[in-house]
C-alpha cells in the first residue's frame, strides 16, 4: 500500500510536469505548476507519516510516544509559501500579457510577435 501511494504521487507529478510543458495556455501552465508542486508536498507529508503516530508533542508523561515526523510538514509550509508567491507573480505577468496581446496562448503570442517584426 505504501508504494501505491508513492506511485500515485509520481503520476500526479508527471501530470503537472506534462501540463506545464505541453499546454500553450498560460493559465493552464500555471495550474500545471501547482499540480506538480502539490505532488511534491504530498510526497513530503507522506514520507513523514508514522502509522498511528500522534502529534509530535513529547512530554515526560509519555517518553516512548510514536509521533509523526514534524520536519517534512515544516518544509511543506515553506514550500507552499514559495509556490503561492511564484503563482501570484506568474498570474500577474499573465494579466499584463493579456492586456498587450488579448490572448493567453503562448503560441498565439509568439505568432503575433513574429508578424510584428
Amino acid at each position: 500500500m505504501d508504494n501505491l501511494f508513492y506511485a500515485m504521487i509520481f503520476i500526479i507529478f508527471l501530470t503537472g510536469f506534462w501540463i506545464m510543458l505541453r499546454q500553450s495556455n498560460l493559465i493552464k501552465k500555471i495550474i500545471g505548476m501547482n499540480i506538480m508542486e502539490s505532488a511534491i508536498f504530498l510526497f513530503l507529508v507522506a514520507m513523514g507519516y508514522v502509522k498511528e503516530g500522534s502529534a509530535p508533542i513529547a512530554t515526560e508523561a509519555n517518553p516512548g510516544l510514536a509521533y509523526v515526523n514534524p520536519l517534512p510538514s515544516a518544509l511543506v509550509l515553506t514550500g507552499i509559501v514559495v509556490s503561492v508567491s511564484v503563482t501570484a507573480f506568474a498570474l500577474g505577468l499573465t494579466v499584463r500579457l493579456y492586456k498587450h496581446y488579448g490572448t493567453m496562448d503562448v503560441d498565439e503570442i509568439t505568432r503575433m510577435r513574429s508578424e510584428e517584426l
Partner: protein, 498 residues
C-alpha cells in the same frame, strides 16, 4: 563580534537593504541608487573579508541560531565558495556602478526603486545559495533567486520582456520543482538535509535503496541543468537575457546561471563521492550535453543579427565549457570549470554592459549597425573587444587561462577528443566575435551616432572589468593556488584519473 557573524550578515545585508530601499525610496527617488550602490559595496567588502579569513583559516562554519547540524542550518565557506562569493559580489557591484547613471535612461522612472530592491534581493539569494550547507535552505534561496531574476527581466513592463520573463519563470519553476523532488527523495532515504550528514549516510542508503538514490541524483541534475541552461534545456535563456535591460542581462548571464553550477559543484564534491559518480552514466551524459551545447550555442550565436541575442547564445555555449570541466572528473578540469565560472562572469557582464552602451548610442541592436562606433566611443568598444578576445581565448586574458586548465584537464583525464572540442569551439567563437570588433574600429559608420559623454560610473566600471580580465589572465596563479588544495582534496580520495 562582526568576525564571528560575518557569514549570515553578508546574506542579510542586501536583503535588509532591499527592504529599506522600498520603505524610504518610494518618497525619495535618488535614495534607491545611492543606497543600493552603497549596500552592494559594503557587501563586496564583507565578502573580501570572508575570503581573507578563509585564506587564513582554510574553512569557516557558522551554525544559525547556535544549533549544530543535523538540527540546525549551517553556513560554510571554503576556498571554492569564497572564490565564487568574491565573483558574485564583485561583479554585481561593478554592474550596479555601471547602472548608476545609465539605468534611469533605460527603464521607467517609477520602477527604479523596485529595480534596486529586486537587484539586492537577487544578490542576497545568490550569496545565500553559495554559503548554505543545508539542502532545503539552498532550495529556498533558489526560489528567491528565480523570482527575483524573472522580475528583473520583466521590470520595464514592455511586452517582449514580459513574455520572456514568464517563459523563464515557468522553466525555472519546473527546474526547482524537480530539484525539490530530488531533495525530498534524499531526505527520505537518509533522514538528513545537511550536506555533510547526507554524505555520511549516503553509502548505506545506496546499499538499501539503490534505485531511489539514482533517481534523486538524476532529478537533481536535470533540475539544475534546466536552471543553468545546459543544452537542450536552454530554450528560455536567449529570450530572457536578450530582452532584459542592460544591467539585468549582465547579471543574469554573468552570475545567475552560474549559481546553479555552484549548487551542482557542492552536490558533487560535498555529497556524492566521486568514485560513486564515476560508476554511473552521469559523466557520459554531462559530457555529451556539454559538447553539443558548446557547438550548437556557438552556431546559433553566429546566426543571430541582434547583438544581445548573440551574447545570450554565447552564454549557452560557455555554460557548456563549465559542464565539460565538471564532467571530465579530473583535478585540472575542475579547476578550469571553477575558473571559467569566474572569468565568464567578468567577460560576459563586460560584453553585455558595453553592448548596452553601444546600443544606446547607435540606437540600433543589429550587429551590422555597430560599425565605426569604436572611433567615437573607444572605451565601450575596447571593453567589448577585450571581452571578445578573452572569450575566444587569446593568451594573456582570463578566458585563455580557464580554457588552458580545461585543456590540461582533458589531457589528464586522457580524453583527447575534448581538446579538439575546445580548439574548434574557440574558432567558432572567433567567427561571431571578430567581425564586430573589426567592424567597430575599421568600418565606416552605417547609422548616425549620437554624440554624448559616457557617464563616469560606467567608464570606471568598464575599465575595472578590463583590468580584471588582464590581471586574472596574467596572474592566474594567485586564485589557482588558492583553489588547488580544496580541489586536490576532492580528488585525493578518488585516486587521480578514471
Amino acid at each position: 563580534m562582526i568576525t564571528a557573524h560575518i557569514m549570515p550578515l553578508t546574506i542579510l545585508l542586501p536583503l535588509v537593504g532591499a527592504y529599506l530601499i522600498l520603505l524610504v525610496g518610494s518618497k525619495h527617488r535618488s535614495f534607491a541608487r545611492n543606497f543600493g550602490l552603497l549596500t552592494t559595496g559594503i557587501t563586496f567588502a564583507m565578502v573580501c573579508y570572508i575570503t581573507y579569513l578563509v585564506s587564513n583559516q582554510g574553512k569557516m562554519a557558522y551554525y544559525l541560531g547556535g544549533w549544530a547540524p543535523p538540527l540546525g542550518i549551517e553556513l560554510r565557506a571554503d576556498p571554492i565558495t569564497a572564490f565564487l562569493l568574491l565573483t558574485f559580489a564583485g561583479v554585481s557591484f561593478f554592474v550596479l556602478l555601471f547602472a548608476y547613471d545609465i539605468l534611469p535612461g533605460e527603464i521607467n522612472g517609477k520602477v527604479i526603486t523596485r529595480y534596486y530592491a529586486l537587484y539586492l534581493v537577487l544578490l542576497g539569494s545568490l550569496l545565500g545559495i553559495v554559503l548554505s550547507n543545508d539542502f532545503f535552505n539552498i532550495y529556498v534561496f533558489l526560489e528567491i533567486s528565480s523570482i527575483a531574476a524573472a522580475a528583473l527581466v520583466a521590470v520595464n513592463g514592455d511586452k517582449l520582456a514580459m513574455e520572456a520573463s514568464i517563459k523563464y519563470l515557468v522553466m525555472s519553476t519546473l527546474g526547482s520543482g524537480t530539484v525539490l523532488m530530488g531533495i525530498a527523495g534524499l531526505y527520505m532515504v537518509t533522514g538528513y538535509l545537511s550536506l555533510d550528514f547526507l554524505a555520511g549516510a549516503l553509502p548505506q542508503a545506496y546499499a538499501s535503496h539503490p534505485l531511489t538514490v539514482l533517481m534523486t541524483l538524476g532529478m537533481l541534475t536535470v533540475g539544475i541543468a534546466v536552471k543553468a541552461a545546459l543544452f537542450p534545456l536552454h530554450v528560455w535563456l536567449p529570450d530572457a537575457h536578450g530582452s532584459a535591460p542592460t544591467s539585468s542581462s549582465a547579471i543574469l548571464s554573468g552570475l545567475v546561471v552560474k549559481v546553479y553550477i555552484a549548487v551542482l559543484l557542492k552536490l558533487l564534491y560535498r555529497v556524492f563521492p566521486l568514485d560513486f559518480l564515476a560508476a554511473l552514466p552521469l559523466q557520459g551524459s554531462l559530457l555529451v550535453m556539454a559538447t553539443l551545447g558548446i557547438f550548437i550555442g556557438s552556431i546559433m550565436a553566429i546566426r543571430q543579427r541582434d547583438i544581445k541575442k548573440m551574447l545570450a547564445y554565447s552564454t549557452v555555449a560557455q555554460i557548456g565549457y563549465v559542464f565539460l570541466g565538471i564532467g571530465l572528473f579530473s583535478e585540472k578540469a575542475m579547476l578550469g570549470a571553477v575558473y571559467h565560472v569566474f572569468s565568464h562572469a567578468v567577460m560576459k557582464s563586460m560584453l553585455f554592459l558595453s553592448a548596452g552602451l553601444l546600443i544606446k548610442y547607435s540606437g540600433k541592436r543589429t550587429i551590422a549597425d555597430l560599425s565605426g562606433l569604436g572611433r567615437v566611443y573607444p572605451i565601450p568598444m575596447i571593453a567589448f573587444s577585450v571581452g571578445a578576445l578573452s572569450m575566444v581565448g587569446v593568451p594573456p586574458l582570463a578566458g585563455f587561462m580557464s580554457k588552458w586548465y580545461l585543456g590540461l584537464g582533458a589531457l589528464e583525464a586522457n580524453q583527447l577528443l575534448f581538446l579538439l572540442v575546445l580548439l574548434l569551439s574557440s574558432l567558432l567563437n572567433g567567427f561571431y566575435y571578430m567581425p564586430i570588433v573589426i567592424g567597430g574600429f575599421f568600418k565606416k559608420e552605417t547609422v548616425e551616432i549620437r554624440q554624448e559623454k559616457i557617464p563616469l560610473g560606467a567608464q570606471i566600471s568598464l575599465l575595472v572589468l578590463i583590468a580584471a580580465t588582464f590581471f586574472f589572465g596574467l596572474f592566474s596563479n594567485i586564485p589557482i593556488s588558492f583553489l588547488t588544495p580544496t580541489v586536490q582534496g576532492i580528488f585525493s580520495a578518488f585516486g587521480g584519473g578514471i
